[in-house]
Symmetry: none
């Protein structure tokens, strides 16, 4: 039991929460290590949503709002951390929610789909096919789901898959705490923020943006600027700590 | 099987090794996440021992050498990553080795003690009492062990416990990859380096330093300078990435 007065209470509770889901098989061992790496980058970001991250999240909402076939791709870590937030974003964005796993087993897919459904999401399920040009099980997706999407939101994605989706001509929105990662640099738009902070900002903007504002945000999109601002945030924190 | 020529060979082998120990119950799931976090900071440090880290490790040796009752506190990750290195450091420093866990169960304590013993360490065991003013199980230690220590080496420690030990008047040596952490900033001395690189440097210096050199290093100890140098290493790496 983690004491409420521990200064790292939230971070420790999140770790316990992920460990519980690892015991259930929903979060993979690699997912736990990856979460740790994300924590470190979040630490350098001050564990808060920067102004730049807020604008990139609003731009993400604009991309979802202006899409004709938006899909939210969910993996084990995202489901464990944010199932209710995914359900809410689905409601306000009208996107399909589809489970795609790196460490794919039929059992894990079923467990994660059922976790999302319990949180209120309508999961786009059915037969997955090996449709993406990738040598591992991330190649699996549904023909009428992600394969047909024009905009795909991929929280916590791996670089290979992000690159393949972008090469297929899709607009890829990544949520990634590491602004130096291959995913961050291959996505159409990267929200450099922690997933449970980013998703509500995206959802709020889906509800509040006018059509004109959506068009403006999409027209102005420059991911290199968002990534540079994120790296500057980290650098400033390190410089500040130096003084 | 990880190919020897993989650019991330060492890192991947270490992860597999930790996973094996997680399956045995020696490393906690939370410990895996903490390892991921360390990986990210080590990446920013270039995964090598800086000159500054080498000097702080030598100063750690000087503190151990000049102590009257030095104790090395070992947790699950430290035992899994470095049991033989702990055993060697014990031989050259004459310190007690005591197991202290955040996620404490009698079984885990026994497993970790037995891992250390197999590696050649003499483990200071016996009845642990709730002696430190902390609200969780890290409060447990032995009256004639850590409670009576004047110098405590705490590889991979949490901030609370580091602060409490320092407040009890002990000299606390932390090994911590995050130079911004509470542990790093509350310790008497922080070695900002990966634990399996830091421990041999400390052990070598325990053997080679003269008494006069030990006295000089202790007299000159300024942890703020070591932390600043570590942050400068990271900053340089991030600035480089920016250009």
């Amino acid at each position: 039991m983690i004491p409420r007065d521990h200064p790292r209470y939230t971070s420790l509770v999140t770790r316990e929460h992920l460990a519980d889901y690892a015991r259930l098989g929903i979060v993979s061992w690699e997912g736990l290590i990856a979460h740790g790496r994300g924590e470190a980058f979040d630490y350098l970001l001050g564990e808060k949503t920067s102004e730049s991250a807020r604008r990139s999240a609003q731009t993400a909402a604009a991309l979802l709002r202006t899409a004709s076939h938006p899909v939210i791709s969910v993996n084990g870590n995202t489901a464990a951390l944010a199932a209710p937030l995914i359900a809410h974003l689905q409601k306000v964005s009208g996107a399909l929610v589809e489970v795609n796993l790196f460490h794919r087993t039929p059992d894990r897919v079923r467990q994660i789909e059922s976790l999302l459904q319990s949180a209120g999401a309508a999961v786009f399920s059915g037969e997955a096919e090996r449709l993406l040009p990738l040598s591992h099980d991330r190649a699996f997706c549904r023909r009428d789901g992600m394969y047909a999407a024009d905009v795909v939101l991929v929280p916590l994605e791996d670089g290979d898959r992000c690159g393949v989706l972008a090469a297929m001509g899709k607009k890829v929105i990544a949520i990634d705490l590491n602004p130096l990662s291959r995913t961050s640099n291959m996505a159409t738009l990267t929200v450099v923020d922690e997933v449970t902070r980013a998703l509500p900002v995206i959802a709020d903007a889906c509800s509040s943006l006018t059509d004109e504002e959506c068009g403006d945000l999409v027209a102005k999109l420059d991911n290199k600027v968002f990534l540079k601002e994120a790296r500057n945030e980290m650098k400033a924190r390190l410089c500040h700590a130096l003084d």
